[in-house]
């Protein structure tokens, strides 16, 4: 064994010295560094994104509860070394200078916020960020509180029985959850002052939020520990569940990045397989000679596997190193897009990159290597002896299992794995069959065309099997790139749809009924586009078909959240913009009293169907309504959205205020003052801050995705070079021979160009076909987006591909015609 290892090392060394291995090595290093960089990058990106999402929670994990939680849980968190913070929110009426204001008080513990930052300002209005909660005896308030209560910075504000000094104006808190309709002004104080306010009596409406941050594993342990112990009023939220719109974006981005990584691995795998195949073929004679010299078959295999192991260790390490540098460089390049602090890569993911390098190498290199096993000793006597390939199924089975494993590993989704593998394989087999036969058929009917063309086409047809493999390899790469590009574009489009440029950025709430007409006309006058003014009536759903909802609804669902607090109810004669009836019918011109239209996701989680009877309490009275329609709506549009819309007149006798949302460009901000002056009772919420936050996140996701796309492109180019390099020897030889026979170099160049162009064009054409089928499947089953073919892309791809292959191919073969012709005399 030791002797074999030594020999392996020496053979490898000689090979590198004679330049035989350089191409293989190069392919390997590119592949490994590429996938390592992608891995590291997406891992760090994911963790950073998660951290961003954590900012919206002000923690990594939050237990929300209407009562204090058991001490045992907190002890468990301490044991797991999680950092802890706590906030208690409650509504409280503030009275100062004979003015009354309903505020939302938030008492926070010392470590709050665990993630993200608070923003505060003083009279100078310059904003500063801090991670410190207000000190004892101090209170921070939202700006609108000061004029409302005729107070100034530095004055004393009484919260319950405690007098606190207003030391700062609070301009931003990371975990402000937007139930915009009922958002009242914020007052933030230190938890230690809470007891002395005496506002929190048993039975008062408190909202506790226990926040945790720390090691991902510990968090998971804690999550699993707490989850089964939660009672009906408690919920556990982590960064993936928080904020549906961001959660969704993150989840999609994660599966997208995962998908991209698989594609890069696959593409690299193709390059490795091609390079190894060439390596094997170059060594058939070596194998025959070694066998002649008395080496046993398995010794020969050990020899080559050892060489590959050495190579794998070396290149993986090098690749990892390059990968780290490359991804670091990328973060550097993107630093203006990215959050200020990027989390460091974890050692484990670096190790994973290394292991993966070796795994990719062997997964894709073993099949071609196995071919060597079948080399006959007789080859010594007869160079041209053809190789008996080992059972193709066994050989490609290895690569396939590995690929499936990777896909499963990244997606953690068996269905998706099955779709990708099954669909992919089937397509490949069918395509291979048709392509080979298409080429054979063309060859037979090759028309009498000009010499250049004939030679070009013939070069492609000469060896239909090899051409098929080359075309398929290019196609797969292109498919990967088209998929990446299309999914990215469509995800982006989807995200942008979620946040249209002039989506409402302000909410006006608490509009009195008598102000309705005037405010509407004011809006029209000022040319402000509002998304409709809706009445709001607070109410609670208590029964479905006379069964109490608590008995029906399971924990953790949207339904649960909807029934545990007051719902904002409304009535409307018209179906609101962006709402879509999916079942039943919207009421016509003469609506019937006591009918209700329900949002579809809530209906699903409550198990409500058309015709069901819903019972609400509104101002201590019961209202019963029949479900006549189910609506689908977009929650992420910043427009007033309602779970329940009643038919007109149903809610006439209940106290109601109105709300609207509208878009106000920055230049028109001064209109706000006017509005607030004219309607002092109306509260205007500026949600553009939240919108900016969302946009930042989406921009970052986009950059990350764009960036990894370049990697796929890079990997694709590697394949391109590997394929062309693999046929380089033959090209050099044939070109030299043709020149001996009198072909001039221009002809050879044209022939090559034409061959490459055809190859690229065919590959592009195929890629368009495959990718569109896959995209359809992917959108339909995995990403839930609507599929619509991108026609310009479909048309441009074949030409672009032809161009790309020509470019890469030509740069490889441009020296082919320089080979000294005397080599032909020496017998190759």
């Amino acid at each position: 064994m030791k002797a074999t290892a030594l020999l392996a090392w020496r053979l490898l060394w000689r090979d590198t010295r004679y330049g035989e291995l350089s191409i293989l090595c190069f392919a390997l290093i590119i592949a490994v560094s590429c996938s390592t960089a992608v891995n590291l990058f997406s891992e760090r990106m994911q963790r950073t994104m998660n951290a961003q999402a954590a900012e919206f929670l002000a923690a990594d994990l939050v237990i929300s509860s209407s009562e204090d939680i058991s001490k045992a849980w907190l002890d468990e968190a301490t044991r797991l070394q999680l950092k802890q913070a706590k906030t208690i929110e409650f509504p409280s009426a503030l009275v100062e200078n004979d003015e009354l204001l309903l505020a939302s008080v938030k008492a926070v513990s010392a470590l709050y916020p665990l993630r993200g930052q608070l923003k505060i300002s003083d009279e100078t209005e310059s904003e500063i960020t801090t991670t410190q909660a207000p000190a004892e005896g101090e209170v921070w308030v939202e700006k609108r509180i000061l004029p409302a209560l005729k107070l100034h910075l530095g004055d004393v504000l009484n919260v319950g029985e405690k007098a606190l000094k207003i030391s700062k104006i609070l301009t931003y808190e990371p975990d402000r959850q937007g139930d915009f309709y009922s958002m009242s002004a914020r007052v933030m104080l230190n938890e230690r002052d809470l007891a002395q306010t005496h506002v929190t009596q048993p039975g008062s409406r408190l909202h506790y939020s226990f926040q945790f941050s720390g090691d991902e594993k510990a968090l998971k342990t804690f999550h699993d520990y707490v989850k089964p112990k939660l009672n009906a009023s408690q919920r556990i939220i982590d960064i993936h569940q928080n904020r549906p719109e961001i959660g969704e974006a993150l989840r999609r981005a994660e599966s997208y990045l995962g998908l991209l990584s698989i594609l890069v691995v696959l593409i690299s795998g193709v390059a490795i397989a091609i390079a190894t195949r060439r390596y094997s073929e170059r060594h058939f004679n070596t194998v025959a000679v070694l066998r002649c010299l008395g080496y046993k078959q398995n010794q020969v295999m050990t020899l080559f596997v050892l060489q590959f192991l050495i190579l794998g260790l070396f290149t993986s390490a090098l690749g990892c190193g390059i990968g780290v540098v490359v991804q670091q460089g990328l973060f550097y390049l993107l630093k203006s897009f990215l959050p200020a602090t990027i989390l460091q890569p974890s050692i484990s993911s670096l190790l994973l990159g290394f292991l993966m390098g070796i795994t990719i190498l062997f997964g894709f290199a073993v099949p071609p290597l196995l071919q060597m096993q079948k080399v006959s000793i007789l080859r010594i006597f007869q160079q041209q002896l053809e190789i008996v390939t080992p059972s193709a199924w066994l050989v490609y089975g290895i690569a396939l299992s590995l690929t499936s494993f990777f896909i499963w590993f990244y997606t953690d989704n068996l269905k998706m794995t099955a779709i990708i593998m099954g669909g992919g394989l089937l397509t490949l087999f069918i395509l291979r069959f048709f392509l080979t036969h298409f080429l054979l058929y063309t060859k037979r009917f090759l028309p009498k065309i000009s010499l250049n063309w004939r030679f070009g086409v013939e070069a492609l047809l000469r060896n239909p099997k090899i051409s098929t493999v080359q075309i398929l390899a290019f196609s797969v790469t292109l498919v990967a790139m088209i998929l990446s590009y299309s999914v990215r574009t469509d995800l982006l489009k989807d995200w942008q749809l979620q946040l249209p440029n002039n989506s409402p950025n302000h909410f006006a709430i608490n509009i009195f009924p008598q102000q309705f007409d005037k405010i509407s006309s004011d809006f029209t006058q000022q040319n402000i586009h509002s998304s409709g003014i809706y009445p709001v009536i607070s109410g609670r759903l208590i029964a479905i078909n006379d069964v109490a909802v608590q008995k029906i609804v399971s924990k953790e669902t949207q339904g649960d959240r909807a029934i545990r607090r007051d719902l904002s109810l409304t009535w409307s004669a018209q179906l609101p913009e962006d709402n879509q009836i999916i079942e039943g019918e919207w009421w016509n011109k003469t609506p019937v009293k006591n009918q209700v239209s329900i949002e579809d996701k809530l209906a699903q989680s409550l198990g409500v169907k058309l015709g069901d009877k819903l019972t609400f309490t509104i101002s201590n009275q019961e209202v019963i309504a029949d479900v006549v329609s189910i609506r689908r709506l977009r929650w992420d549009t910043m427009k007033p959205n309602f779970y329940m819309i009643f038919s007109p007149t149903t809610l006439d006798n209940y106290p109601q205020t109105f709300l609207t949302s509208f878009f106000l460009p920055k230049e028109q901000k001064n209109l706000l003052n006017q509005l607030v002056k004219t309607y002092p009772n109306v509260t205007v919420l500026e949600v553009d801050v939240v919108l900016t936050q969302l946009k930042t996140i989406f921009t970052q996701l986009t950059s990350a995705i764009n960036f990894i796309l370049y990697f796929a492109l890079f990997a694709g180019l590697t394949v391109l070079f590997a394929v062309i390099h693999a046929s380089l020897d033959q090209r050099i030889y044939e070109s030299a021979l043709m020149r001996v026979l009198g072909a001039n170099r221009a002809l050879l160049r044209r022939t090559h160009l034409l061959e490459f162009a055809l190859l690229g064009f065919l590959a592009g054409l195929l890629a368009v076909l495959i990718s569109q089928v896959l995209l359809f499947a992917l959108y339909h089953w995995a990403l839930h987006l609507t599929y619509s073919p991108n026609l310009p892309l479909c048309v441009l791809t074949p030409f672009g591909s032809a161009f790309l292959v020509c470019l890469a191919g030509f740069s490889c073969v441009r020296n082919v015609a320089k080979k000294p012709l005397t080599t032909i005399l020496k017998g190759k």
């Binding site: 041209q384 053809e386 010499l451 004939r454 030679f455 000469r462 060896n463 044939e734 021979l737 043709m738 020149r739 001996v740 026979l741 009198g742 072909a743 001039n744 170099r745 221009a746 002809l747 000294p820 012709l821 005397t822 032909i824 005399l825 020496k826 017998g827 190759k828």
Partner: protein, 218 residues
């Protein structure tokens, strides 16, 4: 037909400059056959390569049919070869992915000959391979491959044929067969023949014989 003046070739290796061909002056008439003999490494292939314009000399010049090869560029020499020269090599040098017929058609196609197929099949029939037209070289024996190579060399009706140890890779019986064929074709087409060989008998069948040693004519 072929004329050289002070033909020399120097190559540069890590060990220094190496003169592998020294001041060769030669004149070969039309229809004449010349054998180049000498020990291995004496410069036979080097000389052949220079005569055929596969390589350019360090000193001196080569005239083919009165035209100075040395003054031409690579593409000019290629056209010259296509019109004037045929080759037979020791290791056959057929294109593996082309059939026998296609291999023979190749030089005609390069010359833009419209009747490539007819001419090529006729010549393959002449060398006794009418039944192997669509076979690729891999399926042919060495002798058969060399006959395909002969057909390819003669199909353009070249004025000059260069052959570098055409029997080197064949057993003597097959070799003799190929040689017979070569001389027959040579005679039929009245070709000027330059032949490199180790084989004394073969050399003796030529009109003239030169012996190389260490790059110089003895």
């Amino acid at each position: 037909m072929i004329e050289t003046v002070n033909l020399g070739k120097t190559v540069f290796s890590p060990e220094g400059a190496l003169q592998i061909l020294k001041e060769v002056t030669l004149k070969i008439d039309k229809g004449e056959s010349l054998a180049i003999v000498g020990t291995s490494g004496s410069g036979k292939s080097t000389l052949l390569g220079l005569l055929a314009g596969l390589d350019s000399p360090s000193t001196g010049s080569v005239f083919l049919n009165g035209q100075n090869l040395t003054a031409m560029d690579e593409d000019g020499r290629a056209t010259m070869r296509n019109q004037l020269v045929g080759f037979v090599f020791q290791s056959f040098q057929l294109i593996a992915s082309l059939t026998a017929l296609e291999n023979v058609m190749l030089p005609l196609e390069l010359a833009g000959d419209k009747q490539a197929k007819t001419k090529a099949s006729a010549l393959l029939e002449r060398v006794g391979l009418a039944h192997r037209l669509s076979h690729t070289p891999i399926k042919l024996s060495g002798g058969e491959q060399q006959r395909v190579a002969l057909a390819r060399a003669f199909v353009t009706q070249p004025a000059i044929l260069f052959a570098d140890e055409p029997t080197g890779n064949l057993d003597s019986k097959t070799g003799n067969h190929v040689i017979e064929l070569l001389f027959e074709l040579n005679h039929e087409h009245n070709t000027t023949l330059v032949l490199v060989t180790h084989d004394k008998d073969l050399a003796n069948r030529c009109n003239r014989k030169i012996t190389l040693e260490a790059g110089a004519i003895l």
